[in-house]
Symmetry: D2
Subunit: 147 residues, 4 copies
């Protein structure tokens, strides 16, 4: 594929660099499916070590997947952003073996230092697992060390 | 210590049973510091595998710790509750080696099938790392298989 | 227009009945633009009495508009639902004279007693003013006294 | 009472100035009970025009009361702050004639441009009606025109 949009190419480079440093995302086996400006889609397969006391996916694992997509999307312009606040609604319990996909999309940004992102998490059947919404704050440093 | 309050003794039994099944909490090294009716305090030491792309504790790890305390507190009456929704505000970045303590306290419950809990997360110096607030929903089964 | 879908016709009847009793929505001049099953769109014009100490629309007014759309959407099946929790993100300041439109859409529901709704609020130019997300809980009574 | 703390005296002046411009808070009859640095307590009596379609206090009214306390608390240092995001949990339905008191307390602030506040709303019997949590962002202008 020929990447024609420089902003999307930068987003892919930033997401890859973020994941390379993100030990937690790596330990959960999170992979990047797509990255564009203000957008990221990541995925993960639920293993037996991701389960909580009710024998379903730990809410913290679902949150971590969504938060990772959020981080990649809000750092896509090579300007470092950190999370200020996030909310998550749990709609369906995930199970061992499920393939979870988190899709992050910028809803509002570009003015001031803050941005608003939505992240939907679904399983392999497209059923909604969780809905995440986050607020980020831009700090004054780049994502890439050598951009 | 002689446990004089039966409700608190039940809470301790439920929290221990929850943690025994909670593979994710175990894999993060989460331990129970205290459990009482509608209350739980859990702790964890930040390791290098809990770090995100900004070299600070992954927001998902902090959330998982808080969510675990929430789960133990809202399941303390041997009535299974699941999380409907949670919000988290991040106030300070945690670092490798930090000892994080999450304290969950019931704010409202006892009527209907829903409950509201606050969980504060602090580091070893008592500095606030995050504030979590969750809503749970009681399902009709016990926490303990053989209570 | 010939209403062919009975569920949408019921939704319209329920929304109209809710608004007739909703003194607060009336006092803000909120009107129903459209109501369907699990969906409602309401609108309001910002007057000088809806302004806060920064000379912009009071966040409480924007919330009230969104919450009203949420209420109409989650009561659209003639089963009374009450709000458990709601979150709102403010993206742009509204001004006196603005026409604000709140669009509520069910995101998840139908199982159990709880539902999740998104409400987007925009101004007359289509610019996003706020994003609202709510969790509701079904109580055991109808919306309509004489359905 | 002799006001000995200049920061608290400034907070009182700022809250009074905010309320004087806040047409929405005035129209609900909101009054200031106490204002200090990073803190505000406001109150309001529920009238028949504040009722929703379920014959209880409109969630938007409760939110407006809490949001007003939040605004007074986060503007208490004569530095204008605007709300980025807020969450509210509803614990008990308010009724006509209830006296509602909202108490806002800074939970974290002072570094960067953002702050985190909790606002608890209770009725005249001290029963919790709602719990609010807000994130604010400091803009570069004073609250007082002539400080």
């Amino acid at each position: 594929m020929i990447e024609t949009n420089p902003a999307d190419a930068l987003a892919r480079t930033c997401a890859a660099a973020m994941l390379e440093r993100d030990r937690m995302a790596q330990s959960l086996g999170i992979t990047i499916e797509e990255a564009r400006e203000g957008y990221a889609r990541v995925a993960m397969t639920v293993t037996p070590t991701m389960i909580n006391g009710h024998d379903t996916v730990h809410g913290g694992v679902t949150f971590t997947l969504a938060d990772t997509a959020f981080a990649f999307a809000c750092n896509s312009r090579n300007e470092a952003n950190v999370a200020l606040q996030a909310s998550i609604s749990f709609t369906k319990a995930g199970r061992t073996g499920d393939r979870l996909i988190a899709t992050a999309q910028e809803r509002f940004g570009g003015k001031g230092r803050t941005g608003h992102y939505d992240v939907d998490v679904a399983n392999q059947a497209g059923e909604p697992i969780a809905m995440f919404r986050g607020v980020c704050y831009r700090i004054s440093k780049p994502v890439l060390v050598d951009p």
